[in-house]
């Protein structure tokens, strides 16, 4: 399906990125396996994971090259895209999986916790997309698959940094689709749900032990479900979006959770009130509860 295509996959040393790199290689793509090799909080870089996945691909008869740059710098983005050009002569497919987590409630979040997560996810996605875009535009072909998240789209507590970054990636993807579409380049986004070291964190596993001892079953069931969602499950949808079959799929969002793939709705007005002039507060007081906000549920109501 991807014979002779050249793909770059960031954060491909482990988890979902690794699954995508292996999946694209299995479809015939030559793959740049990028991984900075850090812990889930962004610390302690190592070149190991990227080379491990390159070895896996070449052992299976595929073609791959390793890159260990950080996506979070402009030059890193240039180096990653440059690796594809240097080794394989072009870049057709860019998949941006690299990410870290630093969860904290917003009122306690440090500037460093916000900045580091934004740097890897948002700036990292921009750096790679920005360096790939002129090349894809010139060759009149390209496939960009970014990774957004349900966290930013649906709202996960404790993730003001991650949720902002992931929602911003969705905005970047929508604009990229419109800036590049006419040149034969598509940009789509995946919201994955999978059991990885980023979701099954030591904190999550410790909390699980405590709940087990307390006999709380509901969360245990949810966690068992999560464990069944393998990071490799995301790859087939990415391979499809990177293929010629998906030439006209552009600016869309897909939720991938195990063997399920869903199309996610784009923002649109649900209810509208209109007046030929400026509203007064008296009018809004009367009308808004009966119209716009009727039936809305506060996702975190005040505690009595």
């Amino acid at each position: 399906m991807l014979k002779d295509r050249v793909a770059v996959v960031t954060g491909a040393g482990r988890g979902i990125g690794r699954g995508v790199a292996l999946g694209l290689a299995a479809q015939g793509a030559k793959v740049v396996v990028n991984d900075f090799g850090v812990n889930t909080d962004g610390s302690a870089p190592s070149s190991g994971p990227a080379f491990d996945v390159v070895n896996e691909i070449t052992a299976a008869g595929g073609e791959a090259a390793a890159n260990t740059d950080s996506v979070s710098t402009w030059d890193g983005g240039a180096g990653i895209v440059g690796t594809a050009v240097k080794h394989f002569g072009r870049i057709d497919i860019l998949v941006t999986c690299a990410g870290i987590l630093r969860d904290r409630m917003i009122f306690n979040m440090s500037e460093e916790e916000f900045d580091s997560v934004l740097a890897v996810h948002l700036k990292g996605t921009f750096n790679c997309v920005r360096h790939a875009a002129p090349l894809m535009r010139e060759q009149r072909f390209g496939r960009i698959v970014t990774f957004s998240s349900g966290s930013g789209l649906f709202g996960n507590p404790g993730q003001a940094n991650y949720g902002s970054a992931k929602a911003a990636i969705s905005g970047l993807t929508k604009v990229a689709a419109r800036d590049l579409g006419k040149y034969g380049v598509t940009a789509n986004s995946i919201c994955p749900v999978a059991a990885t070291r980023m979701t099954l964190t030591p904190e999550v596993m410790r909390a699980r032990e405590i709940r087990k001892q307390q006999g709380i079953i509901r969360e245990e069931r949810a966690l068992n479900q999560l464990e069944n969602l393998k990071p490799e499950d995301v790859a087939p949808m990415v391979a499809f979006l990177a293929s010629d079959y998906a030439a006209n799929i552009n600016g869309q969002f897909f939720l991938c959770a195990g063997p399920s793939v869903s199309l996610i709705s784009l923002p649109r007005p649900l209810k509208t009130i209109y007046k030929a002039g400026r509203w007064t507060l008296d009018e809004l007081d009367e009308l808004v509860p009966l119209t716009l906000t009727e039936g809305l549920v506060n996702p975190a109501p005040p505690r009595a």
Partner: protein, 311 residues
Amino acid sequence: MGSRLKGKVAVITGAGRGIGRGIALLMAQEGAAVVVNDLGGEIDGSGRSTSAADAVVGEIKAGGGQAVANYDSVADFAAAENIVQTAVKSFGKIDILVNNAGILRDRMLFNLSEADWDAVIAVHLKGAFNCTRHATRRMREQRTPGRVISMSSTSGLYGNSGQANYGAAKDGIAGLTRVASRDVGKYGITINAIAPAAATRMTATVSQAAREARKQRGVASMGAEARSMLPRPQLDPDDVAPFATYLATDAAANINGQIFVVMGGIISLLNYPAPVRTITAAERWTAEEIAALFPSTLGMDLFNPAPARTE
């Protein structure tokens, strides 16, 4: 003058001009003591001046209201704390934060410089985080209800060509709104967002050529399209103030984590993104299976906002 915000203290960033100014004036009219923040820069973020904020403070005081000026940059974490502290020092607390400050540097994605990306993300997204973080921390300590209202944009929500930096920042603010509303709701604090459309000096920088290009390619923003059908096509920035103020009142105590579009007299509630169609198998799909199934399932009626040009 009303009394809906009597005894409340509001901070409005970027309140020296445009939409922010209108919100500051109306909140003051409703009885709020207002911190008018504006660093008085140019539309691209360059330069500084105290005159924009001072002028609005003067207007509020002349109308019998209470206001102080602040000239700090929202993009700086420590300076943002000082914006919140200005409210606490001048009026004893903070009840309302309006994240409104913004700049624009439009460019097609393949030509966008790192500096143009960073500057826009810093003011809009980091700026909204900085102020929200410091304000909610203070509101939680006060143990009083709080209101945060952030400006998002249809540019990011729907996608506007030539605005990768601005669109990313504004959709990021939508994400920040949805997440942070869940962090603070139980303390009686609400966080909502408004995607406004108005004719201000910021939208005036979008070139006529860019508007025409978007229109010809059928990718004109919904705002522009709808605008041309309005009885008042030049949307007044002051039209945003009533709904922003409404969200700050007691009447809106239980509206939390929502995004509204406001343009002129049109106010819409936006949907939360949600799965609309799903394909499921017992085990992992292959890419070939997805390719075969997609057009008649997930891909039904999908719209390509910028189809490839055949040359």
